[in-house]
Structures are given as structure tokens and as C-alpha cells.
Amino acid sequence: MELIFEGVKESSRFKELRGAIAVLEPINGVFYGEMVEFDIGDGSRRLGRVLEAGREAIIVQVFEGTAGISTSKAKAKFLGQPFKLGVSEEMLGRVFNGTGKPIDDYPLPTIDKEVDINGLAINPMSRDYPRDIIQTGISAIDAMNTLVRGQKLPIFSGSGLPHNEIVAQIIKQASVSGKAEKFAIVFAAMGIRFDEALFFRDVLENTANMDKVTMFLNLADDPPEERIITPRCALTLAEYLAFEKGRHVLVIIGDMTNYCESLRELSAARDEVPSRKGYPGYMYTDLASLYERCGRVKDREGSVTLIPFLTMPNMDISHPIPDLTGYITEGQIVLSRALYQKGIYPPIDLPPSLSRLMKDAIGKGRTREDHPNVANQLYASYAEVQWIRSLADIVGEEELSERDKKFLEFGEKFEKRFLSQGYDENRSLEQTLNIAWEVLSILPENQLHRLTKEQIEKYYNRD
């Protein structure tokens, strides 16, 4: 249902200013979620949004904070509409700031339409279940945690781990397969460092086609309040490109940890009751309102695939940020510092990693008929390796049985040959699966419970 708004209203009657919150005297016609523009009095402007509209007060979140705002000079202009982003295909190839203003010295792009950045929930009846894989050329992902078009698959990393490289490798290698002309990448950076932003810009510019990439950059020194807006702008554009222009859009947003910090900061400023570790109780709902915007819908060409990345504070996967993310996303790729220090790139830690959508996207007629069982077998055997390693730590390797020694050998080879690959190495799925069989063939046949007799007959290397 179309909402009818009352038009622009102005006020300078401030009651309170603190942090990112401005409280004003009530004005008629102001509504919840309305966009506000502050004229500070020195010629500059700041954006804000109505958090509470009431007969006693109006509470506004100011995106760049209230520092420098004076109650005598500033004016608030209520714009009569929720926060909207102008979208068009012309935005591809452009760089914007965290609230959607161009920062690449080119003129404003022509706008096709203006869309509320909060979006609406996709009706589950309209969704199409994702079944087409996106080949990333990374064995640990393609074989073991397959990425599917329309999926949300986050990368859980830690500070100092190469998540940027992995994301970059996915961008490079995923974009070349499939119908390139219908592809697009939307990248939203929240609170990342300048050199990281430069790295991604470099990667994107050198990948096939910069003109298919849009970037929204909110860097570490940009206002944290803006970070709440940045991913919503990115997803709004992505939805438009996917569901109205038929493109397959890969959305990369991060660092989600910075986003959640902003959420907490804002919540504290509003005196809200905190839940775990001071994060607001609605953080799950808030994150879901971002992550759930990806998917495929019936009768439309395009898709939105989402790869959020985040740095786990202290590598703690049970920290609220990765925890709530994992409950919403369809799996997760977890990086391990231990593997990275062993010199393994990409250091993807398999036991906690998972792709929930892979089961329906792989196997006979989709990838290769042995793919599901091979993945299961590798998981199970690698889990056995972990157990035997801990045993060997105590009793010593010499004391192990022949079978256990075979498993250790398998484990080493699996990490060096299968997991490890070059930053520029783009493996086909066929190559990946063949390497998998090569390492599985180290194990005795009777240890491969997850594979069928026929598959062992066909692929097991007896030499």
C-alpha cells in the first residue's frame, strides 16, 4: 500500500543533543522512519532518521553525530519520506560514500527510481529455492562448502587472517564463469581501513570489468552512524539490479563487526536495555533484515548472492556477532589461524564450516555424481585425523596403529595438496574432485564408509 506523506517540515526547537541522538519538540506530521536533514549553520548538512515520533518529543538519529551542532544555529528539515536511495544501472562502475553520494569525481548518475533502503521482506511463496552453484575455483569452497546463487554465506575471520584475499579471489574467479554480461558486483565496506579499500578497488578494477562493479565505502574514519545505512544502500541497489534488471548480483559486505559496533553505540545512546555483551536485543532482527534480502525469486531472471565477512573478536565463534550471523546465514566459511601459521592458504577450517544449500545443488546432473559422498567422506576422515592427532600428541606417533598412521598421512596430504592452493590458482570442479580422490586413495578402501562400492570402483586409485 502506498503511503501518503505530508511533505517537508522544519524545526529548530532542540530539546537535547547527545552522541548521535537529537531530541526535538514535537511537530505535526512527522512519522517514524522519516529522513531528516540538519542544516548546521556553517553551510554543511547532516542526515538523520526519526527513531521515535511522539506527541512529547521527536527522537532523531544523526548519522554523523551531533558534535558541532548548536541548538541556536542548527535547523532540522523533515523530508517527508523514509530514507531513499536513487538507483539505476548507471551506478555500476561508480564509487559512493556510505550514504550513497558519489565520491569518484564523476557527475551524479541519472536515477531510474527512488527506493526505500529498508526494503521489504521477500514473501517465502515468491522465493525460488537456490540450486545453481557458483564455482569459485577454491577447492575448500567448491567441493566442501559449495556456494549457491542466491545464498548468504559469510566468512568468519580474525584480525590478521587473509579474508580480504579470499574475498578478492572469489570475486576474480567467480565473475568470469557464467553469462558475464548479466553479472554485477556490489561491494559495501563498513569501517574498513583505507589500504584495505585500496586493495579491493585495485582488485575490482583489474578484474574483468570494473563497469560491473559498484562500491559503497564507509572507511574507518567515516562516521560510525553512517554504517547502519551503508549495507542497506548496497542491498537496495542489488535488489534493483537483480529483480528488475535480471542481473546475477554478488554482494560483498563487511566488516560486519564494525557494523555491529555501530549498532551497539547507537543503542547505548538511546538508553536501550542491552542484552549479550551490551549489544541490543534486536541485533538478530537487524542483521536478518540485511542478510535475508538475498535470494532468488520466481519468474525473475536475477539473483542476489551475499558474502558478508567479519572478524571474530578474539577468534571467538560464540561471540554475539558471528553467532547471530551464523543463525541467519546459510552456512559459514571459518578461517583458522593455526592453518594459516602452517603456511596453508586459504586457511579454511573445515569442521566448523558449512554450506547449507550445497546438498541440493551438487551431485548427479548438477556437478558430479560422486561429489556429495566425496565431500562427506573428506569431512568424516578429516575429523578422524583431528582425533588421531590429539591422540598422537599424548602417546607419540610411533605408538599409533597402522590404520591411524595412514590417517595422519592422509591429513598432511589433504592440507598440503587439497586445501592449499595459490591466490591465482583457479581450479575446475573436475580438478578439485580428482585431487580429492588422490588424497582419499591414501586411506584403505574399507575406511571409506561414506562412498558407494561403485564410486570406489570407479575413482579409487589402487596404485
Partner: protein
């Protein structure tokens, strides 16, 4: 009654002019007509929670009190349908606004156009009481929908519609209440937060057969019982819930997707029409109602979705059906309570949850049960609630409180999930309080071995193996005596060959008889192997037997209808043991 918006903050609206409206009444907010509910009165203001996004609502906007509490429509047309948290059919929403769910969509919960073939079950002059069956409608080929008198009506039948086709709103019966007469259509409304009355509650004593061996054999739940399934993300809560929705031996399945993933609901929507009920051969969707409130749909509707679902379950129980209700996940519901309580500025208890969390959970789980309904028929509601504890930590408030109200607890284990051991139900931390009540049923209904005794043996074996493995980790497996190594190996056999079950293979549903055959075979192997050990044969000789590895694959290779193959395998196994014995010069 009419009021106006005083202030708005997310899903909470404070209203003026409604201070005399009863708490619980449904309201319509603003020009868009957003659905809301009065949750409290403070001074001269009413506090309203709104089930839709409130962007665009402004102080002064009109609010209309509908005059009745938040209710659902109960009548033909429920089955096979998919609703949002406040019973709006998502199919109609899609027709009205396309891909997305827009605000303020007005739809009818049940179709007013569809014709139903009605057969009366009462005659003029009959005296009928609350919940009495008036007539029947064949809603799907599986379920005869019994049209019930609302639980608060009793009187004499003045007139009843003759057999024929009627629409939902057509009058099918007129009742003389004594003081006045009323005419009733095929459906009635019932407030979701009020539990429907029953004649008598009964003790559950029949197992809910789920086709999942670890549940049916180790941690069963009774028909009319309550179970919780807690687990961190990636431990397979949703897949287990889907498995139960597919295969559980209930007449009706109500699946509440509460604050979970959109794609998972879509998966159910795609799969269920194609899957067959193993007992009737009809598409599963014909016995299923889905309530979907995905994580990005409004939070207040998430809170309501659980009540909407359980009220529908009660309605079918009152018709004499056994209903299994899956709520995935109750933690999201609890979080919705927390979020709304926070916006209402209520004093938080543990982890920011409101102090009434435990009583709400208790109220919900107590609506489950096996009962004699007002209609005189016996029906049941089995509730299976998923819990998503933050960080997989079972000591958090929702898991802790849930434990107080459920009798079966399936603890999902991250470590097992990492090994791709599914269902990842941990056999040490899980429990079932129904075991003693169900032993008789197994004895009377499933031929073969003694279920209670088998269960005790497997549990003891698994516990023992668990202890020994910890010892082995310290001193090495080789340092254990052969008899103890055998225990570890047999436990592996139980884990891989029996407990582990692939949801995506032919083993997805395992009949009780098949489960019995497998476990019987494993225990036979164990007993024979022990005999060999006793005469000095080395444990490695036994576990290197070809049959040892083969047993692990039998669950996949032998289907539910070819159970005699287990007997043939058992003969081969017996033969193999004799051969080994002969080689070492002993007779067994």
C-alpha cells in the same frame, strides 16, 4: 472505539483515547490499517504492539479498536495452506503485492469462495454441547474436517443444512440457546492466547514414530508429549525438524517457521507437495499447515506466530486428530518477547529477557497433551520446540527454562555435526522421560526383540565406550584390554551403522522394524565377537572382518520393505564367525 497515535517507536505504538479498551483487543493503526494488539494500559494511554513495519506512522494517526482479541479463523481451508504469523495466507499476499510482503495488506484468512461438501452429523432436535461435531467436510483426501460447535455454545439444534456444497460463510446450523437462537457458519474464531478447553487430559503412552532411529530407539517422545531440540547453528536443528515434519506418525503437522530463514520455508514448500506420506501414500502437504514468519518479517508477528500455530493444533485435536507441532525456533520467539519488552521499557531479568519468559514458555508447552476433547473424541498435540542457544551454550535462559517444561531433550552436538554425524543428537546429554510409559506399546505392537531391554543395552554400551575412549586418549588404544577395545569398536558400529542416518537418502525414514533388525544384528555381532575373544582370538582379527564394515552400510542398502535381507546377512555373519573359530580351532 477509536483512538489516535500518541507516539511510535518501532513495533510499539502508544495510543491516546483507548484507555478503556480491553487489553488483548486487536486494533488497526493508521491509514494503511496495520494490524496491532493492545498489550497494556498505562494511565490514559494504551500500549499497542504492531505486527507490521511502522515506518510512515505519525502521531495523530487514527487507531481503530476492532472490539475482539487477536484471533484465528478455524474452519475448512487450513490444511495445505501457508500463513504468516497472524494467519494471512502468503499466497494471497503474493497475488496482492508481488515478490515482497507489503504493509497493510488486507486478506481473508480462509477462502470465502471455495465450496466444501458438507455432511451433517446432527439432526433437528438434538441437544448439542460445546465442541460437539455438527458435520464433516472432506478437506483433503487424508483428513475429514469435523465442523465443531464453538467451545462456548450449547443448546438444541433447530435446523441443520442438508448434505451438499457450501461456502465457508454459509449457515450450516441454527441452535436454540434457550434465551435466543443463533445461526452458525462452517468456521468460528478463537482468541490465540486462550487455550481451548478439553474434557479430560490423559497420560501419553503411545510413541510418536519418527522414522529417526536415534529418536525412536534412544530418546522417544510420546504422542501428546513435549520435546525440545536445542543446538547451536549448523548442528542440524532445522533438518531434524523437517525430518520430523515429514515422517512423524501424526495425522496433522503444523510447522511454525518462527524467525528463521526464507529459503528453508521455500524448501518445505517445494518438497512437501512432492513427498509422500509413508503410511498413506498421499502428498505430505495435504496434512500440513505452515506458518512462516521469516527472520526479516516484523518481530511482533513472530511473537504471535507461535500462538496462531498452537491454536490451530488445538482445533484439530478437538476433532480427534493427533497433531504434531514443530516450532523452529522458540528462541526467536523468546527474542521477540525480549525486543518488545525492551521497547516497553520493562525491567529485564536474565540476559535482558523479561521476567515473564519462563511463564510464557510454560503456558505454551502446557498446551500440548493427549486429551479427551469436548467432542468425545481423543486427540493429541505433540510439541517439538527447537531452541537456538547463543554460542551453543545450554546454560542460557531459554534452554534452561525450556528444560523445565519438556520431558524429552535432544541435545545437538557441534562436535558430531563437525564430523558430519547426523542427526547430531548427543547420546550422553540427551534424555527422554517417556521410556517407561512406552515400553508396553513396543511389546504389543512391534514383533521381535524387547525394545526396553535393547535400549538399556545400547545406552550402557555407548556410555561405556565414551568412558573408554577418554581413557584411550590418555594411554592409547593399544593399552586397553581386548574386551574393552571391542566395546569401543562396537560403539562405532552403533554410531555409524545405526545412529547415523542420512536425511537425503533412502534411509531417510527407517521403520521401527528395520531399526530393530539393525540393532539386533549389531548386538549379535557383539555377542559372537565376545565369544571369540574369550577363546583368545585377537580383537583386530574381528574388526578386520569384511562383515564389520558391511554392517555400517546395511542401513542404506536394505530398504524398509526388504527386511528379510537382514536375516540372510545374519546367516552369512554367523558363517563368517564359525570360519574364524574353525581357523583357530574352536567351535562357537
Amino acid at each position: 472505539m477509536r483512538g489516535y497515535v500518541w507516539s511510535v517507536n518501532g513495533p510499539v505504538v502508544i495510543a491516546g483515547g483507548l484507555s478503556t479498551s480491553p487489553v488483548g483487543n486487536q486494533v488497526s493503526v493508521g491509514r494503511a490499517g496495520l494490524v496491532g494488539e493492545i498489550v497494556g494500559i498505562r494511565g490514559d494511554k494504551a500500549v499497542i504492539q504492531v505486527y507490521e513495519d511502522t515506518t510512515g506512522i505519525s502521531p495523530g494517526d487514527e487507531i481503530e479498536d476492532k472490539g475482539y482479541p487477536l484471533s484465528v479463523e478455524l474452519g475448512p481451508g487450513l490444511l495445505g495452506n501457508i500463513f504468516d504469523g497472524i494467519q494471512r495466507p502468503l499466497k494471497d499476499i503474493r497475488q496482492a503485492c508481488g515478490i515482497f510482503v507489503e504493509n497493510g495488506v488486507q486478506t481473508q484468512s480462509l477462502s470465502r469462495e471455495r465450496m466444501w461438501a458438507f455432511t451433517p452429523q446432527v439432526r433437528e432436535g438434538d441437544v448439542v454441547g460445546p465442541g460437539h461435531i455438527i458435520g464433516e467436510v472432506e478437506e483433503t483426501s487424508l483428513i475429514k474436517h469435523r465442523i465443531l460447535l464453538p467451545p462456548d455454545i450449547k443448546g438444541k439444534v433447530l435446523w441443520v443444512a442438508s448434505e451438499g456444497k457450501y461456502r465457508l460463510e454459509d449457515i450450516v446450523v441454527k441452535i436454540d440457546l434457550g434465551s435466543k437462537e443463533i445461526a452458525l457458519p462452517m468456521y468460528h474464531r478463537w482468541p490465540v492466547r486462550k487455550k481451548r478447553p478439553v474434557l479430560k487430559r490423559l497420560r501419553p503412552n503411545v510413541p510418536l514414530i519418527t522414522g529417526q532411529r536415534v529418536i525412536d530407539f534412544l530418546f522417544p517422545v510420546a504422542v501428546g508429549g513435549v520435546a525440545a531440540i536445542p543446538g547451536g547453528f549448523g548442528t542440524g536443528k532445522t533438518i531434524t525438524q523437517h525430518q520430523l515434519a515429514k515422517w512423524a506418525s501424526a495425522d496433522i503437522i503444523i510447522y511454525i517457521g518462527c524467525g528463521e530463514r526464507g529459503n528453508e520455508i521455500t524448501q518445505v514448500l517445494e518438497e512437501f507437495p512432492e513427498l509422500q506420506d509413508p503410511r498413506t501414500g498421499r502428498p505430505l502437504i495435504e496434512r500440513t499447515i505452515i506458518i512462516a514468519n521469516t527472520s526479516n518479517m516484523p518481530v511482533a508477528a513472530r511473537e504471535a506466530s507461535v500462538y496462531t500455530g498452537i491454536t490451530m493444533a488445538e482445533y484439530f485435536r478437538d476433532q480427534g486428530y493427533s497433531v504434531a507441532l514443530m516450532a523452529d525456533s522458540t528462541s526467536r520467539w523468546a527474542e521477540a518477547l525480549r525486543e518488545i519488552a525492551g521497547r516497553l521499557e520493562m525491567m529485564p531479568a536474565e540476559e535482558g529477557y523479561p521476567a515473564y519468559l519462563a511463564s510464557r514458555l510454560g503456558e505454551f508447552y502446557e498446551r500440548a497433551g493427549y486429551a479427551e476433547a469436548l467432542s468425545g473424541k481423543r486427540g493429541s498435540i505433540t510439541v517439538i520446540g527447537a531452541v537456538s542457544p547463543p554460542g551453543g551454550d545450554f546454560s542460557e535462559p531459554v534452554t534452561m527454562h525450556t528444560k523445565r517444561f519438556v520431558r524429552t531433550f535432544w541435545a545437538l552436538d557441534k562436535r558430531l555435526a563437525g564430523q558430519r554425524h547426523f542427526p547430531s543428537i548427543n547420546w550422553i546429554d540427551s534424555y527422554s522421560g517417556y521410556v517407561d510409559d512406552l515400553t508396553d506399546w513396543w511389546r504389543e505392537n512391534v514383533k521381535g526383540a524387547d525394545w526396553g531391554q535393547l535400549r538399556t543395552r545400547i545406552m550402557a554400551l555407548l556410555q561405556e565406550a565414551d568412558r573408554l575412549e577418554r581413557v584411550a586418549q590418555l594411554i592409547g588404544v593399544d593399552a586397553l584390554p581386548d574386551s574393552q577395545r571391542l566395546v569401543i569398536e562396537i560403539a562405532r558400529l552403533v554410531r555409524f551403522g545405526f545412529l547415523q542416518q542420512n536425511a537425503y537418502s533412502s534411509d531417510s525414514f527407517s521403520s521401527p522394524e528395520k531399526g530393530l533388525k539393525i540393532i539386533d544384528l549389531i548386538l549379535f555381532f557383539y555377542d559372537s565377537a565376545k565369544e571369540l575373544l574369550d577363546v583368545g582370538i585377537h580383537v583386530l582379527t574381528i574388526i578386520e572382518m569384511e562383515e564389520f564394515a558391511q554392517i555400517m552400510r546395511l542401513k542404506e542398502e536394505i530398504s524398509n520393505d526388504k527386511l528379510e535381507e537382514f536375516d540372510r546377512f545374519r546367516e552369512r555373519l554367523d558363517e563368517a564367525f564359525r570360519e574364524i573359530g574353525a581357523k583357530y580351532g574352536v567351535n562357537i
